[in-house]
C-alpha cells in the first residue's frame, strides 16, 4: 500500500458502467514525514475519504476487491483514512559503501 493525501476529486459523466457511483479522488503521494514525493494519481474511493485527508491506497487487481462482487476496471483504490502517523527512522545513516569501479584508464 502507499501513503498520501487527497488533494481533489475528478468528475466523469461518461464512464464504464461498473464505475457508476464510484468517487474518483486525486491523491498526492507523500513520504512518512509528509513531504511530497512523486506525481499525483487518480484513485477510486472505498472508505469515504475527502479532500485534505491522509489516506493509504492499494494498487493492482486488489484495487477492485473492496467493491466485490462488483469488478470495476480500477487499478488504484483508497482503502483507509489515516488518523496518526508514527515515524522513527534510524538516527544514523549507514556509511557509504566503497565501490570498486571498473573504470578504464
Amino acid at each position: 500500500m502507499y501513503f498520501g493525501r487527497v488533494v481533489g476529486s475528478v468528475w466523469s459523466t461518461v464512464k464504464h458502467p461498473h464505475l457508476t457511483g464510484k468517487r474518483l479522488l486525486v491523491v498526492q503521494p507523500l513520504t512518512p514525514e509528509l513531504k511530497i514525493t512523486g506525481k499525483q494519481l487518480i484513485c477510486t474511493d472505498s472508505v469515504g475519504a475527502g479532500a485534505g485527508e491522509l489516506v493509504y491506497w492499494v494498487r493492482g487487481k486488489e484495487a477492485s476487491f473492496p467493491f466485490a462482487p462488483d469488478e470495476p476496471p480500477v487499478d488504484t483504490t483508497v482503502v483507509g483514512i489515516v488518523d496518526e502517523v508514527h515515524v522513527k527512522r534510524p538516527v544514523t545513516t549507514p556509511p557509504p559503501v566503497e565501490r570498486k569501479s571498473a573504470r578504464k584508464k
Binding site: F65, E84, V87, R89, P96
Partner: protein, 93 residues
C-alpha cells in the same frame, strides 16, 4: 520480495474491514548496502514486527493476502519475516 526496515506505524480507524486486527507498518525498502530504495510504503504485518526491525517485504497481492490470512482482500504488501543476517559472496555481486 525486498529487504526493508520498519520505520513507523499508521493508525487508521476507517479502513477496509480486512485490515482490522493487523498492524499497519510504514516500511522503507533497502538496498544491499543499507541505503533507502525508493519511497517508504505501507504494509500489513504478518509476523508481529516492530519499529527498527529489518524485515522481508512482499510487494505482490496474492502472497500478501495469504500471509495475513485474508484472501480476496485489498492488500498488496505485507511484512512476512525477519531478516537476521545476509551473506554475500565476495566478487560475485
Amino acid at each position: 520480495m525486498l529487504i526493508a526496515r520498519v520505520i513507523g506505524e499508521l493508525v487508521a480507524t476507517q479502513k477496509d474491514p480486512s485490515h482490522e486486527g493487523r498492524k499497519l507498518l510504514l516500511v522503507q525498502a533497502l538496498n544491499l548496502d543499507g541505503t533507502d530504495r525508493g519511497d517508504a510504503v505501507v504494509a500489513l504485518d504478518a509476523v508481529d514486527a516492530g519499529v527498527g526491525d529489518k524485515v522481508l517485504l512482499t510487494t505482490e497481492g496474492f502472497s500478501a493476502m495469504t500471509s495475513v490470512g485474508r484472501p480476496n482482500s485489498p492488500i498488496d504488501m505485507a511484512v512476512i519475516g525477519f531478516i537476521d543476517h545476509i551473506e554475500l559472496v565476495d566478487g560475485v555481486h
